[in-house]
Amino acid sequence: MQESELPEGRLREAARSSRIGAPILAVEGVSLSFGGVRALADVSFDVREHEIRAIIGPNGAGKSSMLNVINGVYHPQQGTIRYLGRTHHDMDSHEVAQSGIARTFQNLALFKGMTVLENIMTGRTLKMRSSLLLQALRIGPALREEIEHRTVVENIIDFLEIQAYRKTPVGRLPYGLQKRVDLARALAMEPRVLLLDEPMAGMNVEEKQDMCRFILDVNDQFGTTIVLIEHDMSVVMDISDRVVVLDYGKKIGDGTPDEVRANQAVIEAYLGVSH
């Protein structure tokens, strides 16, 4: 009976922390500049398997750049990314995706004219084996394969509760739902690590709560490791296991939400200091 008196949140936390494993992704001394602009300066941190890891910071802190570095879109001038024990600093984004890292985008990069279902199906591209010709004709192995992919996609549609919009063109959906479709497409890759770029940006409170619940569920159900960039501190503190704080391209804090919240440098970066 004692267990039932614990609030659900704490139960969850306790159960999850026992699941968190060894580091699978490590960023080591990464520096990135665009001409004279220093986007990242000697940033190091690691991400453990199954955890929800947040990167926060004020506008222009270098959060999205950090994600783009992990993602292989930008190549850092210094430092390395270690993923699953392998070190790399110039994988392109295609290779990164193939190695099991998926991402969503801050400004949504969906195919607006295509339906929700079709958009999520595009997330399966990397898993499709049959030739383009067979796929176009939808015969034999291609058809079987499509049915398999469709099953995975339907499971994700069910998981994210977007059944009602299966056949709706994405461009006609409200923003909060488009974000969910973006997440669905990333999940369709069945990633090991999921990078979320401001999943809650521009949402109202209810949509934010929904998204938090989905992020926690994805982490819980599929064991996906999640790296999350977020602007909204309160949201991050609620769902993350550990938080990295960036400010002007430098790491100014790293630790559990409670530790970060108490960190003087973080408070100053967010609230400003009186001079």
Partner: protein, 652 residues
């Protein structure tokens, strides 16, 4: 009284019968992962057998109540039947109730076993667990999100099924004896009434009562095993349960469970049900959607719609009733059917509907006529939880907008001098659970059930309900005041979602209006009227003008009816928030709780009668997750024009 075969006098026996007679025909369908999955009658029976043995293995005994909480899911219906196999009582609870509301039924029925749909329901039950010491076992269907729940009370549906299959293999005879022990007089199910007044009451219904009524209606409508029903309303409401549990087991027709609450419209189009049931608000919402979309259509289409709808209003109903109609109109209607009515029925998902019922509340006559005019056989029925639904049904060809039809076979009707309707029928409830006081008040020693509804039987033998006996009032000058009648008239306008009329013992009639956010929002957008949200839009002068026009049209209508001309609405206000069951303003079946609203918004009622132009109001609201907050606003009060009675002979 319709005859009941003694080897088919309980629901489990009926299920076994169907599994034998039509084992390969569909019994239940559920859309899962985008595909309609079918359970045949044989699958249904197999599942129920395993589940019953599983429950027995967990200590479920004869006479125990099984709480079933969730949306329409085949597994939850199977659970109801499994409980009945063991001589238990299926007790469906409202799935959208907040945790606190669930505590009462569980304590009241001393429920030990509950089978619920998902994490949401599990969380609610765990929350009230300390208050419900009897609750020992919670089974859940969907394991999502429950992986780390360590509570001893919890068990997955699959696990329960496995235990059942195992014991079924060991001892198959056990269940057969248990099923055979059941008799028609046993209690089959308990439904908690929505509680318009006071705490909910558990209505105890026997197998015999439910089967008798389901059978009487099925015979009257010639239901067969090819009929199809979409189950989309809360299964805890008898209005859904009788159509998706009792009647299919009697008639052998199949039911379909939609994918989610949001997909009902498209699922309905895919399934094409032949037998349909909905409370008036559902029909209202559908019509509102059609009206909004027609307003957005091109001019030519709007013209076509208006022309053909006029024709349909004139002759559509008569055609459906088989009354004589001129050859030209007949031909024109045929053209209209091709161009408009057919496609419209298709959009509504009602192309194959043979019989559609509405009940639960009075339906606006214009709304009712709309569906009949486009060729949908919409009929009214009258009944309640206490009467196993079917008391009166309008027979084909004798459908009138303002009555609910003659009594169904086996039902006797009577009236008290106060015009209260009394009913005696084999479908009556046994008692209110553990509430002999209430049972005695509702059911007299001669077996007449006091409905609390006021009405009379008209010249054709059709029952006509005016209002609740306690709600029919009089203004201080003695003019008749039937609030529900006024409210229904107001609610027919697409812009008005709910209305609450006041006037009993007062000198004039005033009303609260709840605007329909979808319709008014759409209207505002088309006029480039900016607004920040519900509260802001509701307080706009433009919206007040729009609502005033509606109120004045109702007044004009009322002025034509001598008895009611004196109860025209003189002042009204537009409420700043939507009336909500979570705040106790509506019942779970979305009926207005007039008394509660009058208390809660006493300051608004005072303002209506005091003549103030605006009033400040603060109200507590309860969010879906159970937290509370306050909404405050300045609400305006406006006058509406009153028309002189049209008839020369003024009511004395």
């Amino acid at each position: 009284m319709s005859e009941i075969n003694s080897d088919r006098d309980t629901f489990p026996k009926l299920l076994e019968h169907h599994a034998k007679v039509r084992g390969d025909r569909p019994a239940l369908r559920e859309k899962d992962l985008g595909i309609w999955q079918t359970w045949t009658w044989r699958d249904y029976a197999d599942e129920v057998r395993a589940l019953a043995c599983g429950l027995a293995g967990q200590g479920f005994k004869r006479g125990d109540h099984l709480a079933v909480v969730g949306d329409n899911r085949p597994r939850l219906y199977a659970a109801m039947c499994a409980a009945q196999c063991l001589g238990g009582i299926a007790t469906p609870l409202y799935q959208d109730a907040v945790a606190a509301e669930m505590a009462f039924p569980i304590q009241n029925a001393e429920i030990e076993h509950a089978l619920v749909e998902d994490q949401e329901q599990v969380d609610k039950l765990l929350e009230i667990l300390p208050k419900c010491p009897t609750l020992k076992h919670i089974y859940y269907d969907d394991p999502r999100g429950l992986r780390h729940y360590g509570q001893r009370e919890l068990m997955g549906y699959e696990k329960l099924l496995e235990i059942g299959r195992e014991s079924l293999r060991r001892d198959a005879a056990f269940l057969e004896t248990e099923i055979a022990k059941g008799a028609g007089g046993d209690t089959a199910a308990m439904f908690f009434t929505s509680g318009t007044t006071g705490t909910p009451k558990g209505v105890v219904l026997t197998h015999a009562a439910l089967i008798d009524r389901a059978k009487a209606a099925a015979e009257m409508e010639h239901l067969t095993d090819t009929d199809v029903v979409l189950a989309y309303l809360p299964p805890a409401w008898i209005g859904q349960n009788i159509f998706s549990y009792a009647q299919p087991l009697v008639s052998g027709y199949s039911i379909c469970c939609p994918e989610s609450a949001e997909t009902v419209m498209s699922d309905m189009r895919e399934i094409g049900p032949t037998y349909y049931f909905g409370p008036p608000r559902v029909f209202e919402a559908l019509l509102t959607q059609v009206t909004i979309r027609m307003e957005d259509a091109s001019r030519a289409k709007r013209w076509l719609y208006r022309r053909f709808m006029d024709l349909a209003q004139r002759v559509g109903g008569a055609l459906l009733d088989g009354k004589p109609v001129g050859a030209v109109d007949r031909l024109l209607y045929r053209v209209g059917d091709l161009l408009l009515y057919g496609p419209l029925r298709n959009v509504l998902g009602m192309s194959r509907v043979r019989i559609a019922y509405t009940a639960g509340e009075a339906i606006g006559p214009d709304l009712f006529r709309f569906y009949r005019s486009i060729g949908i056989n919409l009929k009214q029925l009258y009944g309640s939880t206490e009467t196993s639904v079917f008391v009166c049904i309008q027979p084909d060809g004798q459908v009138k907008a303002d009555t609910v039809g003659p009594a169904v076979k086996g039902v006797e009707l009577r009236f008290t001098p106060e015009r209260e309707l009394l009913i005696r029928s084999p479908g009556l409830f046994k008692e209110y659970y553990k509430n002999p006081q209430a049972t005695m008040e509702a059911k007299d020693p001669q077996g007449w059930f006091h409905t609390g509804d006021a009405g009379f039987v008209d010249a054709d033998g059709h029952l006509k309900i005016i209002d609740r006996v306690k709600d029919v009032g009089r203004l201080s000058d003695g003019t008749l005041f039937a609030p529900k009648y006024l409210e229904n008239k107001l609610k027919f306008f697409p812009y008005i979602k709910e209305a609450v009329a006041f006037g009993h013992s007062r000198d004039r009639v005033c009303a609260f209006i709840n605007m329909d956010m979808e319709a008014v929002g759409n209207w505002a957008e088309k006029r480039n009227l900016p607004y920040a949200g519900y509260v802001d839009l509701a307080s706009r002068d433009e919206v007040y003008d729009l609502i005033r026009e509606c109120v004045e049209k109702v007044n004009a209508d009322l002025s034509a009816e001598p008895e009611l001309a004196g109860s025209q609405i003189q002042r009204f206000l537009v409420l700043h928030k939507e009336l909500d069951p979570d705040d106790g303003e509506l019942t779970r079946t979305r009926k207005v709780r007039r008394g509660h609203i009058a208390d809660r918004y006493a300051s608004l009622v005072d303002a209506l009668y005091a003549g103030a132009a605006t009033v400040h109001v603060e109200a507590q609201v309860r969010y879906e997750d159970g937290r509370t907050g306050t909404v405050s606003a300045d609400v305006k009060v406006r006058d509406a024009k009153v028309f002189p009675p049209a008839a020369v002979r003024k009511a004395a």
